[in-house]
Amino acid sequence: MAKTYDYLFKLLLIGDSGVGKTSILFRFSEDAFNISFISTIGIDFKIRTIDLDGKKVKLQIWDTAGQERFRTITTAYYRGSMGIMLVYDVTNEKSFENIKNWIRNIEENASADVEKMILGNKCDLEAKRQVSKERGEQLAVEYQIKFIETSAKDSLNVESAFYTLARDIKAKMEKKQEASNPAGARSGGGHQLRANEQQRKPTSWLSRCSLL
């Protein structure tokens, strides 16, 4: 049976409690926002298939509970994820400081080559801001991770963020595949294969909102 997609990417949203992980996911998967989201208990995921450079990419995005206490359960879902969004809240200093801890957490539990990205969410709340954009950028440089400020509420940069992460995963995968399969033979089974299309250059939206 023909698959309805060319690639399946498993992504993960992590970060402190209340930084807006579920809102970001909801904005991306349903293009909606609800001010009174319920807190996430345990784990959930949503699916959205996007078109990326002519390929259908199915994104399976896992949403986790943020409180440290539940980390033993949530880290079980790190396994097999290909991209991780590290989310903090620009109006909450502590959530920004904790990004370092989350990165350590990834290093301990996720595969070494997982693509990462830092999101500074709630950038619409300028009056309450505690973490400047510059500090976010600085942290990203330090860890060599892409960074973008988002607002799930105003639908700012959420699309871009997921597209960027997905594109990076795709590029990495295709590169790997070319390395292991230089003849360019099309590979049959497996959801992450069948890729020999020429890579396209990142499009202009990247420069609009991100550091790298």
Partner: protein, 637 residues
């Protein structure tokens, strides 16, 4: 005075062969009306002269240590149902003092010698049993609060030979008291114990079933058809062992049905492989729910000064049907250990005053914290932040918490912050606001909600502890229960990397709060708070939900992600009464299973009997398992 010597002194000492609790005396010819409607235990006893009787004893005759009431109920239940299989008989024991009250109470015992018993019948969906020693008159009527009269009937049939009457399937005629006592019992495994006393006909059937389940079933079906169509029973109404065979088959039909269904769904070629229905479990009884505890009943269960006298009775009624809306806010205070059952109205008033003062003292502790203090108190700030974040996203779709600047959100926050002061070490953990919201919604009062919340948290505090050991342990227990109740599904989950049961984390953390509407969660919680019919009944709720989805999981071959998605999507699609009824049915299956492993007995608070299984380590849970047969040490037929 020594309790044990008094027992010896009792003139007519007898042995309990079977006991069943939660049985209400509804009617008895020649008894004063004051004796009626009291709760007690229905037993089958062997008298000192080896004759046997049915005996009903009011609960106040059974001495129970007040601080171990819950366990005691569970123990009584267990011994009644399962120990009678395992050990055969049990000495009646009374602990504590035997006083003049005891003698009065003894006069209230009702005894029906089996030699005199002529007929009995089961009515109202297994909730009622009537006995007669004279044709045409039902002298005694009992009401089974658990709706499980069939269990008593099954046991009684060990001691008397019965035949069902032609016109009424629920009426049994006693053909003769069966002095040898052990005949048919409820499950095949039990028959294994008593082979020498079983008639050849039945035994052949059973042993054939063990060796060739599929063929034997079909053969037995044809025999059953014979009985049904050709009227195997004589005109006298007297029936021999074929009647018992028929009964046995009727009982096993559900199981066979299930097994054959599975066959069609999976592989038809190898019937031995697919008959994985757990042979240890008797069929699941269908136990209807009852009506909620009403104002009248509630008031009737208190004395004039307001003490609740029939605590066990109250628990039983709530377990069976929940609580009427009108008195729910009051009864919850008792169930959540805020109000002690034995207190008078006056004492409660004093207690309430004291608790109010305590609450406001603790509230003042955080309310009086200055900003400067806060800035030097990181752990406090962290807790406060978490509370504020969660309060703003707790049940906001419910009218009580909806809208901007809703004052009820502030109350929610105040209670949670005060709880942080009450138990700073535990602090605030996500999920707590979910636990509190329905309490406040119902009570509408800050102080009462707080103390009820404390009571609820006392029951589930281990869910929220830092190391999450309590949650992990429960997930493991859930897995073990499912492995016994529905091995096929449990093995499917293991194969799909879901043996750790993490997909049910949300269920267990907040006791299914996210799965039901407010109305339904209130019903579920109050039933669970009764502590009946066993410890950790909430795990059986989980088993019941999963078992109902078994076909979906297996036939669609759901994998890791689909399992989680499906479980999450069940939220707000579950029928609370149906699930409670199924969970109770599963409970009865478990306690009636003679080979229930100790591991599960411990989970359910039942006494252990040295049946062990290989323990599943957490690592094992993630390993795919393809072996059948003696999986987990359960022998296979």
């Amino acid at each position: 005075m020594s309790g044990s010597s008094s027992v010896e002194d009792l003139p007519d000492q007898c042995k309990d062969l079977f006991t069943q609790d939660g049985v209400l005396l509804k009617a008895c010819l020649g008894r004063p009306i004051t004796d009626l409607n009291s709760i007690g235990m229905l037993c089958i006893v062997e008298n000192h002269d080896n004759s046997k009787s049915i005996e009903w004893r009011p609960n106040d005759l059974i001495t129970i240590d007040s601080d171990t009431q819950d366990q005691e109920w569970a123990v009584v239940n267990t011994i009644g149902i399962s120990m009678s299989y395992a050990k055969g008989r049990r000495q009646r024991t009374f602990s504590g003092n035997i006083t003049a009250d005891y003698a009065t109470a003894r006069a209230r015992i009702i005894r029906i010698p089996l030699e005199e018993l002529k007929t009995f019948r089961v009515t109202r969906n297994n909730q009622q049993m009537q006995f007669s020693t004279k044709p045409g008159v039902w002298q005694t009527t009992f009401y089974f609060q658990h709706g499980n009269a069939e269990i008593f009937v099954a046991s009684l049939k060990n001691h008397v030979k019965t035949a069902k009457t032609r016109h009424d399937r629920n009426t049994y005629v006693v053909v003769e008291p069966n002095t040898e006592s052990q005949v048919l019992n409820k499950s095949f495994a039990e028959l294994d114990i008593f082979t020498e006393n079983t008639t050849d006909v039945v035994w052949n059937l059973v042993s054939n079933f063990k060796q060739r389940p599929y063929e034997t079933t079909m053969e037995a079906f044809s025999k059953l058809t014979d009985i049904v169509y050709y009227g195997n029973e004589g005109a006298s109404g007297k029936r021999d062992v074929s009647e018992e065979v028929a009964d046995l088959l009727t009982k096993s039909m559900n199981e066979i049905d299930e097994a054959t269904t599975v066959t069609t769904l999976t592989r038809q070629s190898d019937e031995y492989e697919v008959v994985t229905v757990n042979p240890m479990l008797p069929p699941r009884p269908v136990i209807p729910r009852g009506t909620p505890l009403s104002t009248e009943k509630w008031e009737g269960l208190q004395d004039t000064e307001g003490r609740v006298t029939e605590v066990d009775g109250v628990r039983q009624l709530i377990f069976r049907g929940g609580i009427a809306r009108s008195i729910r806010h009051l009864v919850w205070k008792y169930l959540l250990d805020y109000y002690p059952w034995h207190m008078t109205h006056a004492q409660l008033k004093t207690l309430h005053k004291k608790r109010t003062e305590e609450y406001f003292t603790m509230k003042l502790q955080w309310r009086s914290m200055t900003e400067a203090q806060e800035s030097r108190f990181a752990e406090y700030r962290e807790r406060k932040n978490l509370v504020e974040k969660d309060v703003n996203r707790t049940d906001r779709t419910h009218p009580y918490y909806a809208g901007e600047n809703n004052p009820n959100l502030l109350v929610l926050q105040d209670i949670l912050m005060t709880y942080v002061m009450y138990n700073f070490d535990l602090g605030y953990v996500q999920g707590m606001s979910d636990i509190l919201a329905p309490l406040l919604l119902l009570m509408g009062n800050e102080v009462d909600s707080f103390w009820c919340f404390v009571g609820f948290m006392d029951k589930i505090a281990s869910n929220f502890e830092m190391d999450q050991a309590g949650m992990k342990h429960q997930l493991l227990q859930l897995q073990q229960l499912l492995m016994f109740v529905s091995p096929e599904l449990a093995n499917h989950l293991v194969q799909k990397d879901s043996g750790n049961m993490f997909f049910s984390f949300r269920w267990l953390l907040v006791w299914f709060k996210r799965e039901f509407s407010h109305r339904d969660i209130m019903r579920l919680w109050e039933v669970l708070w009764t502590g009946l019919p066993c410890a950790n009944f909430h795990l059986l709720i989980g088993v019941a939900i999963l078992d109902a989805e078994k076909d979906v999981f297996i036939s669609k071959d759901y994998g890791f992600t689909e399992i989680l998605k499906h479980v999450n999507d069940l939220s707000m699609c579950l029928d609370v009464d149906k699930i409670l009824s199924n969970a109770e049915g599963i409970y009865h299956q478990l306690v009636s299973s003679p080979n229930l492993p100790d591991q599960i007995r411990v989970t359910l608070g039942l006494p252990t009997i040295n049946i062990s299984t290989s323990t599943h380590s957490e690592a094992d849970n993630n390993k795919p398992s393809t072996s059948r047969g003696t999986e987990n040490g359960y022998p296979r037929i």
